[in-house]
Amino acid sequence: MAETSGTMAASSAISSRWGRGLRRCLAHPQLWPLLTLILLLAGNGLFNPGFLALQWRDGHLYGNLIDIAHRAAPLALVSLGMTLVIALRGLDISVGAVLAIAATVAAWTIGHVSNDGLLPLWLAIAAALAAGALCGLWNGWLVVGAGMQPIVATLILMVAGRGIAQSISGGQILTLYYAPYSFLGNGFVLGLPFSLFVVAAVFALLQLALRKTALGLFVRAIGHNPQAAHLAGVRARAITLGAYVFCGIAAALAGLLVSSNVNSADANNAGLLLELDAILAVALGGSLLGGGRFSLAGSLLGALIIQALTTTIYAIGVPPQVNLAVKAVLVFAVMLLQSPLCRGQLRALLRLRAERRA
């Protein structure tokens, strides 16, 4: 008798642990973005059975899934930088322009260094990243040093950035004929696009910095209550400045990928409207746009969702003149699905119908 009750207690403990695990899983903030992504991909798979297929060809992995991840890489990089800035109550709407500047700087450097070895590649990467960091420093200084509101401060570079990029390129689209550079955006490592490794490296680096150092705590404290963080001795201004610099560097990395992918740098159109997609990716990923609560993994998911949407639109053959409208409708649906308020109302509606039927 005693034994039975013991087993029963044990089994109920197990089931309650299961229940708790399940509940925690359901409450996980990245559950909904993940479901959204899976739903999108599965929908495509239903519509077009070949969509989810992966192929091994010439030592590379091919398929729509790889393609989506590869194309999402620049946006993913920018979204990571944007996540950090937004977590600190900021916003950087100059990322598209910074991307164009970095791409142009890289192309210009390659065009002006005559050497057939790898030197131009390294110089181009260094120059582009330096340009990105400088842009971030400027944005950060305007916000922290001059006390401007982030959206206004970064608007300056958003407007001026493409002008700067064009003055470097001389108003031309700079074309690149240099194989090593082309590898960044087109090469494969271990059968996967190189761009995925860049994103993974930046993500891992950032995650490490946030988890293994006190940066994560500081960022959340500043994001939720900057005044209190300041009073507790957290160097909020320095950290905020650093976030803008990081965001600039991330945009520059994206610029390298984009320009290398198409073997040219277009000061006018590279990264156009990227800032909006990046903000959307951050929001889709479950970060608070008001700062404090954020998720890097969520932002990566957000970037993948946006790219999956774009791919879907092309895959189902939406005429190009209306594809932005269709994208907007899909974004609207995704955001509704992710709104807790909306989900609650939907649940209440379903319950009501079930009761009526009963």
């Binding site: 293994k212 150092t213 006190a214 940066l215 705590l217 500081f218 959340r220 404290a221 939720h224 209550n225 005044q227 209190a228 963080a229 300041h230 009073l231 507790a232 001795g233 957290v234 160097r235 404090g292 609560r293």
Partner: protein, 505 residues
């Protein structure tokens, strides 16, 4: 339970069996409350006893899990503060929640602007006239077009009451209205309360000051651990019995803590300020605090108490004078500079400057220590250990150390603030009004821990508007007046002497 006095006056608001659960914590269980017309009803209880929760249920901020609320015999279930207001329940919160950037008149009418019949435009003349007449009922002469923020907290509180009057409230809930008022302002508030009682309003009054309960209340309801202990007529419940009802045990006496602490006469200086000042904020001030000493800093609101604390902590830059910390001359440009040198400041505005409500108890406690130690993250086990130690030492009531601080009661939030600084083992702890808005027992626990640390060598600068606290706890008292130091008094001075110096006699 003491039987309630004869209920001659009609009951306006009747709550029955109210219950509310937040996550794992049962905040309120089966609580009854009856408010009668023309009576002031005091709601008493320690931090976390459920006072705030009960008020939230009555005012529609939260909805009860169980129980009902009746107003004039009709069941109401307000789901927003706006609805509660429309039903006739007006509330003045502890932290005045009006908009300081809007004018007095706008604040009085926000959300219910009178409209012109044509075009539905706001009738500004009616707004202003209405505002003036509302204020006149409280004998207040204010410029209704001036931004509310240009008036002191006491006036803002009166405006909040006037707003409650304006929505023709039958029931007025005052949630710790006096916690930021000085004595004159409290008298003024009590005059207004008495006047409202005459008009037959039912008033629920929440405070931590026992003397105030006996000054204005007719009836007392005591809560403890989310349950109602009882309802009493004021005459039936002397202060000692009230405290026992709130605490449920006999309080340790203060004297035991005090007597042990002899002020150290020749201990080294923890901090030495000479002619420290800042134009427009503070005239040059000399101030020394020795190791192990508790220095009280008194003065009226705006006398320069907080300004001095800000200079000492590097929140504002000193324009003149010099500051030595532990004998070393320093120039503080950032609070981080002060923290590195072993200073700590519990700010006056707990909500905006102190806690990070969304972060956990543990994270709030380790924040300053982590900031001082730099980037290398403290091991999680060490963080847990520190947090648990302080939660225990200060008697912080939280489900566990991962609970967001915003879910704790005010007194427990204040304890978390103190804990954040105690883990840094500061050389000098500056406490700016640490006991405001917290209950007797929490106050006792908090100050006892501070005194214990002072005994172990920590210097304390204790800023308070309550002279009773200054004389009770401090070894020496400095008084600020009109943004300069008015003088110093030795420990053991009478309250009267301190008050006289504050007032400038």
């Amino acid at each position: 339970m003491t039987p309630a006095p004869s209920a001659a006056r009609p009951v306006v608001l009747q709550a029955r069996g109210l219950g509310k659960r937040f996550g794992a914590t049962l905040a309120l269980e089966g609580v009854d409350l009856a408010l009668r017309a023309g009576e002031v009803h005091a709601l008493m209880g320690q931090n976390g006893a459920g006072k705030s929760t009960l008020i939230k249920l009555l005012t529609g901020v939260e909805r009860p899990d169980r129980g009902s609320v009746e107003l004039d015999g009709r069941v109401i279930a307000p789901s927003t503060p706006m609805e509660a207001q429309r039903e006739g329940i007006g509330t003045v919160y502890q932290e005045v929640n009006l908009c300081p950037n809007l004018s007095v008149a706008e604040n009085l009418y926000a959300g219910r602007y009178p409209r012109r019949r044509r075009l539905r435009m706001i009738d500004w003349r009616q707004v202003r006239d209405g505002a003036r007449s509302l204020l006149r009922q409280l004998h207040l002469e204010l410029d209704v077009d001036a931004p509310l923020g240009s008036y002191p907290v006491a006036i803002r509180q009166m405006v909040a009451i006037a707003r409650a009057l304006g929505v023709s409230a039958r029931v007025l809930i005052l949630d710790e209205p006096t916690s930021s008022l000085d004595e004159g302002e409290v008298r003024e508030l009590f005059r207004v309360i008495a006047q409202l009682r005459e008009r037959g309003m039912a008033i629920l009054f929440v405070t931590h000051f026992l003397d105030q309960v006996y000054a204005v209340s007719d009836r007392i309801t005591v809560l403890r651990d989310g349950c109602r202990v009882g309802e009493y007529a004021v005459a039936d419940l002397p202060p000692a019995a009230l405290v026992n009802a709130m605490v449920g045990r006999d309080l340790p006496t203060v004297a035991g803590v005090d007597a042990e602490r002899a002020p150290p006469p020749d201990a080294p200086l923890a901090i030495d300020a000479q002619g420290l000042g800042c134009r427009g904020k503070l005239h040059p001030v000399d101030l020394q605090v020795r190791r192990g000493e508790m220095l009280g800093l008194g003065g009226l609101l705006g006398s320069g108490r907080t300004e001095l604390a800000r200079l000492l902590f590097g929140l504002d830059r000193a324009e003149r004078g010099e500051l030595r910390i532990g004998g070393e001359r320093v120039e503080l440009k950032h609070p981080a500079d002060a923290v590195v040198r072993g200073l700590a400041l519990c700010p006056e505005e707990r909500k905006t400057d102190g806690i990070v409500a969304e972060l956990s108890v543990r994270e709030n406690i380790v924040l300053a220590l982590q900031a001082r130690q730099g980037w290398r993250s403290m091991p999680r086990t060490r963080q847990d250990e520190l947090a648990r130690q302080l939660v225990q030492a200060l008697g912080i009531k939280a489900a566990d150390i991962e609970t967001p601080v915003g879910l704790l009661s005010g007194g427990n939030q204040q304890k978390v603030m103190l804990a954040r600084w105690l883990v840094t083992e500061p050389r000098l702890l500056i406490l700016d009004e640490p006991t405001r808005g917290i209950d007797v027992a929490a106050k006792q626990e908090l100050m006892a821990e501070v005194a214990r640390r002072a005994h172990a060598g920590m210097a304390v600068l204790f800023i308070s508007a309550e002279t009773g606290e200054l004389t009770r706890w401090c070894d020496r008292i400095a008084v600020m007046r009109e943004r300069r130091k008015a003088g110093e008094l030795p420990g053991g001075s009478t309250e009267a002497r301190v008050l006289a110096m504050i007032a400038g006699d």
